[in-house]
């Protein structure tokens, strides 16, 4: 398969590194996190939100900054399997817990069922909200393997999409649920 990307800014840096977010004169402390299955140590200010550590410390671009108040869902990650925003979640509170970003949902180069379904359904316009949507959908399907359409809409209610790709996104989550169920029964 030929490369189809119009262009890309490059690959996300992998985790598993020892990272310091330099903060000038600001007080730093060390955190031990498990992100996408890899353990890492980061130094950051005591009140740094998890989103800052993931994006700036670990170089993960999947969780996106949208509002800073946990109101839009663009920064959703899984924390011990539960989807939630991380722009308003202190990094220290993630210690000892499993943090999974959209990057961690892939199996090597293989897309997860939800990611595959988003591609199949062309469930995006600008795609800035997409990683949060994918993460939220994975969280939903782990808790409820065959949700109704109304349950999908309710689950995604904290994730905003400004482009209006809602129908496709709901369709992608429903498709992922049925694809997964089909695989499980096969």
């Amino acid at each position: 398969m030929l490369q189809t990307n119009a262009y890309s800014l490059g690959q996300a840096r992998s985790t598993g590194l020892r990272v310091t977010i330099p903060g000038g004169a600001m007080e730093q402390h060390e955190l031990h996190l498990t992100v996408n299955g890899a353990s890492c140590t980061v130094a950051c200010e005591p009140d740094a939100p998890l989103l800052d550590v993931l994006r700036h410390g670990l170089g993960l671009s999947g969780p996106r900054f949208g509002c800073g108040l946990g109101l839009c869902g663009a920064c959703f990650v899984l924390i011990d399997g539960q989807a939630r925003s991380c722009c308003d979640f202190p990094a220290w509170a993630a210690e000892g817990r499993q943090v999974t970003t959209v990057e961690g949902l892939m199996d090597g180069e293989t897309l997860s069922a939800v990611q595959r379904a988003f591609v199949d359904e062309q469930a995006a316009q600008c795609g800035y909200c997409t990683s949060g949507m994918v993460v939220r959908a994975v969280g939903l399907l782990r808790a409820s393997s065959c949700p109704s359409e109304q349950e999908v809409r309710e689950a995604l209610d904290g994730n905003l999409c400004r482009c209006g790709a809602h129908r496709r996104i709901v369709g992608a989550v429903m498709k992922a649920a049925s694809d997964t169920a089909g695989q499980a029964s096969a």
């Binding site: 398969m1 030929l2 189809t4 990307n5 119009a6 262009y7 890309s8 800014l9 490059g10 690959q11 996300a12 977010i21 330099p22 903060g23 000038g24 004169a25 600001m26 950051c44 200010e45 800052d52 700036h56 170089g59 993960l60 671009s61 999947g62 996106r64 900054f65 949208g66 509002c67 800073g68 108040l69 109101l71 663009a74 970003t101 959209v102 990057e103 892939m106 990611q115 988003f118 591609v119 062309q122 995006a124 316009q125 600008c126 795609g127 800035y128 997409t130 994918v134 999908v152 809409r153 309710e154 209610d157 905003l160 999409c161 400004r162 482009c163 209006g164 790709a165 809602h166 129908r167």
Partner: protein, 727 residues
């Protein structure tokens, strides 16, 4: 989703070549400006139109693959750069496929002919005997051993490559009937990156040595910096102060945030109340000084008789925010020669010129590279944040500086879509036909992009020492296609009409282009009024519209939308639900769209379904068109039902999603969109066709459901209650 490559033994043809080169190709005639074959097996396409989630790159790639006879997967679209891309103006107005698509198609047809001529010379056969299969030149006997890539390095008349030449006379292009890549749904090129979180947005760009900047905006729309204390700052922070422009640069984003808060706390501002009364937008619009121009005037009689009955009504919309999912972002880097900017602007060339003009630089000293941002729906904060980055980066030469606006700054300082008032009056004759129509539109201007009216129009310029306040936004040529009067000329057969624009000459709240410009309110007003006129004429909304529409394409989309919805033609269903119809031809000359909405009125108004039929002429990527129409419908529903910029007398107060709510997953309607095929018609773009018709359809469905006409947007519970009280 299929891509095929195939052999053509005859050159492509259409009944007649276009009479002249497409305008943006004529303005950028060197073929190498559009196409590059230097990487083996890859076709790199340069367009002047930017991608911001609307899928234009995919459609342009389809156009190139089709005309060049290469596999779609070989086509790569280069991001726009003022250094390397053809200048095709701003990516706005749903013109990308029409403008860039036409130019690219012609450039590809010319390139194909150039390659075939070069191959013919080397092979000693006539060019007409050659074909192309996935970029390989073929003869009747099969492969020739030559390809676009092997020929591209031959010297051209104006440079080292074969395509270093100006476009010649217009070449025939492939007839749509022979398309096999264009005209079929293709998967978007950018979506795989977006489902995996790979860095793709400007917000993900990290450059070596990059620093992080923040701008501390004034606490009010009209404020000047009176003093600055000496705040404690993290190490290595550089403070930039120029007049009332205040910013910081730090080594990390976090340190920049901490420093910005400290500086904000130490700044003292003189604040002047300058904003209108949000509770009386009508009063503001009608009392402000205005430039009055006639947009359209016809005095015929047509089939209509003398007027026996006149109706009047006023419709309003509030200020609307772009409210993109990502706050605006930019990176800038100065070196000895000038400044390089990475921006998600919709107009990289205009931004380059505005930065140069605003800072007294030569335009050649400024390079703007486009990188995708989140979805853009008009002139948002992208250009302003680019100047912020340029100003902060000037303090740390050699270091790129990235500036990301806070959500609160995005919602308060990006330009808004203006508040508007449309006053309509129409006369019916004895047969219930519309004989006369007058429409007056009050609004601030929509054309406030960088460079409009010869002014750079970048936010920070007004804050710099000696900076002048931005002048009120222009509104474009006084036509029914532009500015606040876009779609103010009803698309119905009305013999006597007068359409007048009142452009405000004060701009207390900064306004500029927001998706569909004035069409959103004008079509809401016209379509609401059409239902009121139909009721007065004792006709159904559907038959009344069709009786005033002779354009068969208009009739087709209306009939198709009505059929899709299964609507019986009654607006009120008598059970708290209502149906409504809305129709417009965008800009009066572009795509056709009809929408039917179904509304359930309980404790709140809920739009359950919207059915849309669109005719946008020839279509390159059908699924791309449907995606744009669906998205336009949802966004229009959100504007119509929820959205309203809030402010007090000094500042914008709707600064995050809790104070500027948009429709959520449990609130968005089911959208059912279909394309009415018109392959023989000019392509017209799909991004804005739905905005007006959806608002009209929802307004009419609400009137059917609650039994009262609500003329002031948004159609919230409070506004409906007020309309019931006043009825």
């Amino acid at each position: 989703m299929t891509t095929t490559s195939r052999s053509l033994s005859v050159p492509p043809d259409s009944p007649a070549p276009p009479p002249a080169l497409p305008p943006t190709l004529a303005a950028n005639p060197v073929l190498a400006r559009w196409l590059d074959f230097s990487e083996p097996g890859v076709v790199t396409v340069f367009s002047g139109k930017v991608e911001y989630g609307q899928g234009v790159w995919t459609a342009l790639a389809q156009v190139a693959a089709e005309e060049l006879d290469v596999d779609l997967r070989r086509v790569r679209v280069a991001p726009v750069s003022t250094a390397t891309s053809p200048d095709e103006g701003t990516t706005s107005g749903s013109r990308s496929i029409e403008e860039s698509g036409s130019s690219l198609r012609q450039a590809c047809a010319q390139a194909r002919a150039v390659f075939l001529a070069a191959a013919a010379q080397r092979l000693g056969v006539p060019a007409a005997a050659l074909g192309v299969t996935d970029g390989e030149i073929t003869t009747g006997a099969g492969g020739s051993g030559l390809s676009y890539w092997s020929l591209a390095g031959l010297p051209g008349p104006a440079g080292p490559g074969l395509l270093d030449r100006e476009a010649g006379d217009p070449q025939p292009v492939k007839a749509p009937a022979r398309w096999s890549v264009a005209g079929r749904s293709a998967a978007r090129l950018d979506i795989p990156d977006k489902v995996t979180g790979r860095p793709r947005f400007l917000h993900d760009l990290v450059l070596p040595g990059m620093r992080y900047g923040r701008v501390i905006r004034p606490p009010a729309a009209a404020a000047s910096l009176a003093g600055l204390g000496d705040p404690p700052l993290p190490g290595g922070v550089v403070t930039v102060r120029d007049g009332s422009f205040l910013g910081v640069v730090a080594e990390t984003d976090r340190a920049a945030g901490v420093a910005a808060r400290a500086v904000a706390g130490a700044a003292r501002w003189d604040v002047t109340p300058s904003l209108p009364d949000e509770r009386d937008l009508k009063g503001f619009l009608l009392s402000a000084p205005a430039q009055v121009v006639t947009v359209d005037e016809q005095h015929g009689t047509g089939a209509a008789g003398p007027v026996t009955r006149t109706l009047e009504a006023e419709f309003t919309r509030p200020f609307l925010a772009h409210a993109s999912m990502a706050p605006s972002c930019a990176v800038a880097s100065w070196d000895g020669a000038g400044v390089t900017v990475w921006s998600h602007s919709q107009g990289p060339f205009a931004l380059r010129n505005a930065i140069a003009g605003g800072l007294d630089l030569d335009a050649r000293q400024v390079t703007v590279n486009h990188v995708e941002g989140a979805g853009a729906y008009g002139h948002n904060g992208a250009d302003d944040v680019a100047l912020d980055a340029v100003l902060l980066a000037r303090a740390v030469p050699g270091h790129p500086v990235r500036v990301l606006w806070a959500r609160e700054d995005e919602m308060a300082w990006a330009p808004f879509g203006p508040a508007m008032l449309a006053r309509l009056s129409a006369g019916l004759d004895t047969h219930g036909r519309i004989a006369t129509w007058r429409q007056d539109v009050w609004s601030n201007g929509f054309i406030g992009r960088p460079g409009s009216g010869g002014e750079p129009r970048l936010l920070a310029l007004a804050h710099l020492a000696g900076g002048q306040p931005m002048s009120p936004a222009p509104d474009g040529p006084p036509t029914g296609a532009m500015g606040s009067t876009r779609n103010a000329v009803p698309g119905y057969d009305i013999p006597d009409r007068l359409i007048v624009r009142h452009r405000l000459l004060t701009m207390p709240i900064r306004t500029s282009s927001l998706r569909s410009l004035g069409a959103f309110l004008n079509v809401f007003a016209i379509e609401s009024f059409m239902d009121e006129l139909a009721a007065a004429a004792r006709a159904g909304p559907l038959e009344f519209r069709l009786a005033h529409l002779s354009d068969p394409r208009a009739r087709r989309v209306i009939e198709q939308a009505a059929q899709m919805s299964g609507w019986d033609g009654q607006v009120g269903q008598g059970d708290g639900t209502g149906f409504g119809l809305g129709y417009a031809q965008y800009k009066g000359g572009a795509g056709y769209c009809a929408a039917v909405a179904r509304v359930e009125a309980g404790t709140d108004v809920r739009v359950s379904d919207i059915w849309l039929a669109v005719d946008v002429g020839r279509v390159i990527n059908p699924d791309g068109v449907i995606n744009q129409v669906e998205g336009g419908a949802v966004q229009s529903a959100s504007w119509a039902l929820r959205e309203r910029v809030r402010f007090d007398r000094t500042r914008i107060t709707s600064v995050n999603w809790d104070t500027y709510p948009i429709l959520r997953f449990t609130e968005v309607p089911q959208v059912h969109a279909a394309i009415v095929a018109a392959p023989g018609e000019r392509e017209t773009g799909a991004g804005e066709v739905a905005q007006g018709p959806v608002a009209g359809a929802i307004g009419n469905a609400v009137a059917g459901a609650v039994g009262v006409r609500v003329r002031d947007l948004p159609l919230t519970r409070e506004q409906i209650a007020r309309a019931i009280e006043q009825s």
